[in-house]
Symmetry: D2
């Protein structure tokens, strides 16, 4: 069965494996001091077009989130996040486990609005509550939506006015950046946030996220935190080699563009068949709404997650495309849906 469950079902892009093979027996320093990591950081800085940033290669999203947030905050400081934020919903209390509260506000299609931050601040005024200090958003969001420049500028403004850090979970950043909804360059993006990360796991790497720290005040001693949380790999080359391959040329964005194209194809096909979507997402995650019985039928041929019930008879499912998604499988999915759909129409008519 073909899976649209996620964007980490396959291994790595072949170029990465090739690079692993070619460099395998060359002796390298460890703990981030290997030549590949150096090279990877060099290329990423080139792509961002900035040299005054720190970059650390880490292993996974939850690890990166907890590391960054716990390093950036003092014990009494808290995170503001949308209610759908991955750190709040899907990370087993990793942030709280480092001692910090997450204050949530109702997400609007996965997004956090600037005025929601102000509303939180108005309720956190003294030491009987935590002190909100860091704003967490994901781009794209957990619902596949993408922040545009104007939204980011507004968030930045509120953060500046209130001395808050803005941190972006970029587990799928490539898909956001490659999205038609995106109107901002990586350079501009890096100027609007204090820190963000560039997801590798979900865009062609075996594992790896590149944390970027833009705010000078947040850079000091970060390697200590990496080590202390158990995230400093001895064979750091495994991360360096992958990001070097992804960022040497345009591979990273090429892979995301493919993922987005496959999503667009799916979306177009489903729209033509008159399916609605839970949210209009311009990245590699789609949330089409199906009658329950059609979902059951689709599950005979494809793997995907049920996302949420929409009404008694309908649910949204989540379809994710990736760098590895095959066009023929997307077309086959649409074909199967089309057949099911026709059957329904016929049975309805009868």
């Amino acid at each position: 069965m073909y899976s649209f469950k996620n964007d980490y079902s396959e291994g790595a892009h072949p170029k990465i494996l090739q690079a692993l093979l070619e460099t395998n027996l060359i002796q390298e320093e460890g703990y981030g001091y290997d030549r590949h990591t150096e090279e990877a950081i060099h290329y990423i800085k080139q792509k961002i077009n900035r040299d005054d940033i720190d970059i650390h290669l880490l292993q996974g999203g939850t690890q990166t989130n907890l590391l960054a947030i716990s390093a950036f905050l003092r014990p009494h400081e808290a995170v503001i996040a949308p209610s759908t934020g991955h750190i709040f919903v899907n990370e087993a209390g990793a942030i709280e486990n480092t001692g910090h509260k997450i204050i949530t506000v109702p997400a609007c299609e996965g997004k956090l609005k600037a005025q929601q931050i102000e509303s939180v601040l108005s309720k956190h005024k003294d030491e009987h509550t935590v002190k909100p200090k860091l704003v967490y958003i994901s781009n794209p969001t957990e619902l596949g939506t993408v922040y545009n420049k104007s939204e980011l500028l507004e968030l930045r403004k509120v953060c500046n006015e209130n001395r808050l850090f803005l941190f972006v979970d970029g587990a799928r950043l490539a898909s956001a950046m490659a999205s038609k909804a995106n109107d901002i360059s990586l350079y501009e993006f890096s100027c609007l946030v204090d820190s963000f990360y560039i997801g590798g796991t979900k865009n062609g790497a075996l594992l790896g996220e590149a944390l970027v720290i833009c705010n000078e005040n947040l850079k000091e001693d970060f390697r200590y935190h990496i080590k202390q949380k158990g995230a400093l790999l001895a064979k750091s080359r495994i991360l360096g080699i992958q990001f070097a391959e992804l960022f040497r040329d345009d591979l990273y964005m090429d892979l995301a563009r493919h993922a987005n194209e496959m999503a667009t194809l799916l979306k177009k096909g489903l729209t033509e068949l008159d399916y609605q979507f839970l949210v209009d997402s311009p990245s590699n995650q789609l949330f089409p709404i199906f009658p329950e019985e059609e979902i059951e039928q689709l599950k005979k041929d494809f793997l995907f997650y049920n996302w949420e019930k929409v009404d008694d008879k309908h649910s949204a499912i989540r379809l994710i495309t990736s760098w590895a998604t095959k066009k023929e499988e997307v077309l086959r999915f649409l074909e199967v849906v089309s057949k099911i759909n026709k059957k329904r129409s016929v049975s309805h008519r009868l």
Copy 2:
């Protein structure tokens, strides 16, 4: 320059890369539910010859130590460790960062003695101190020595008498098990400890440690801890594939045997040249003592760590061999030492 600094300078054993290539585009479940992880666990259990154990594949040594220890202990409980223990010396306070004190006793050639545990217990009797609950040792130790069965039995006895857990850091477990000093099977080993891990990073994997939980009471909900500490990889296949290769046949022990043989060769050569050792280590770490000026000369050709000063004019260095160590480089090292040594003899005679 050839490096004897550590056993993680190269990439992975070629068989592992081959397996990565062959399975790369097959879709798999994530988060430890892929077929490779399942297979790896199956093979490891076969090698240990037990089915009543839980096995979790993790990324690195510090991560595994902090995960296991923080999951096994309640907040007021502490670790007893030898003063040379990796968790005390080289992990950036990772254990303390999870809230637990490490109580150290002077290590004897890297080892902890059973009576030292009793001595610690006699000083920790009420709630003004922490409550010692877990004994941490490394096998081989950080000085390359290997615990024999009788030593392990004594540690187990004291642990049983005092309701303590015995946890073994096995970052280099392969080298201990393959050592001539070892007189215990993996099965017996697993029966004497509550939990231990089987290091992959330092024995041919790109990354990965297999944590084994033997004590039934320590198994519950362990996956929650993995997720919470940011150690649950989405593409868990990268760990599964590697351990499956290492344990399908005898690769894991073969690699360790090679590392140990190379160490034995080095040791024999240096002994013949009349060099002393800081400690008589029967595994892949050697600590020969050299005059300072010889160390400087050796550093023109080889990379290695200075370990500690022995007296005004001598220091011990650390040489580590691995699965990837080339015999010709070992021989070349001995040759260079021999030349330096002769020059010294001559100059001494003059």
Copy 3:
């Protein structure tokens, strides 16, 4: 200006000061081993009518909450609480700072309903989320409402079915127990919960809360936690003396009855003047709704907190009575309200 802001504006009940004076120069053991603490525990057990419980005298509510919860839970386990819960709203992230997430559900007049627990459990099924393990409620709630026996039985049932602990914040437990809405004895109460505390600070003590641990499995090593969190007083006599006085005879309940009577008097008076309440609270906290301009006028004579806006022109205020509340001040308050009220009626008529 007379204050109805809270129930901790005055010092201690005179009997407590008298006991401090009388015992002052007698040498006692420290750290909870003084004769007064022993005596206090004895009397509390008598009042609860159980001997198979552990009692620890602590200093304040937040301290007691964080101590109990962090001692009872493993790192990945979380708390379920109503959204108005003191630990969630007013304790500066104390619980999260010990590493545990609080999962909130919308409070219904300050209360948590049994089915809300089930709803939370249905969304926390695997290690991608925390594991709910402890249910936190306050009695009386932060809105002055009191749980009745049937509600507690339902909560217990759900907890039993799902292996959850039930913990009750009893900062104002006296007021709940003395309330007409209460239909349960302290003994029954102690059988329905795993742990709760008996607040002293808000019922006549200078400081002090008596934590009661009913569940056998939660008792072990609790004194270690007290020490580790900095809550083990050297001069524990200060806590022992107070609780001995409060529980030797009926002082503790007498004081609460007075507080409740004063609240009832206030409530009756305001009701007769046609004021509405945010919630119908049968304990020592009242939330009457006033026009904004009347609140401003009342503030010329009395201290109290604005609680929340009800509509554009009205807000609820919080009035709290205590063991020390003077009847003449309650009557004066009603008199002032009555005058303001009349003026309004007149001006409205004109």
Copy 4:
């Protein structure tokens, strides 16, 4: 039996109780905003002769230590302390429980030497170890010795050179300041350290320690930490009243002078009887060495702690005097010792 076990066996100095009585029914704000706390802080600042310091009234020593240290440090930063330091030996891992490692060096009569700090720093150079950031000492030390100005200046110098904080545990600060060994004013003291606390519990208060923060950078948001760790008392008046009494006039130093005088009397008497001391302590803690059998005999009349075995037949005991120590009991103690001593001399002669 009369106790020389500690300096917290009695209640409070009578003036404190008197003040509690006189102010008891006056309504006050809570959480440190009462008039007494304000007054106390005013008086303490007067005594220190500085206004640019922050003062927070807390409950106990362990609480104050853990609060200050965890608020001052980032997660990867560690404490350097002498091996006899209270935080290392007697606080149940409270500091480690907040996530910070304590690096100890062998204490020299309870003291830490400046060069020991440098030695620690030389071994903590990168992220594989923690980063030493705060130096913890006690004054007087746990062995009753007192730092002189020159020692403090040296510590300060090393701290300055290495950007370390200097924090002083002053649980018995009064006794140090009142000691003949002290050659520094409170003002000078406050200029040499970043933070310290003024112990109340062990010098006449029922409970209470006054934390003084001198370093501007450590002041921000400290009240959040107090609340988060459960140390913000609702009825803060209990702390304010006590410190106001202790510091309004010279009560605080008068009490310490009495304690020290009683210790001097004891010391003189024992010296005349030819007893040796484990350490020459000039404060209210003495460590005389007795033959084991004499200790047994003394225990028939007095309470005190055995401190440590000196040889097969001798042990040091710990005698502590306080503000409440009665001169007649000191004389009686000496008399009993004298009798025992004579008996021994006689029996030895026979």
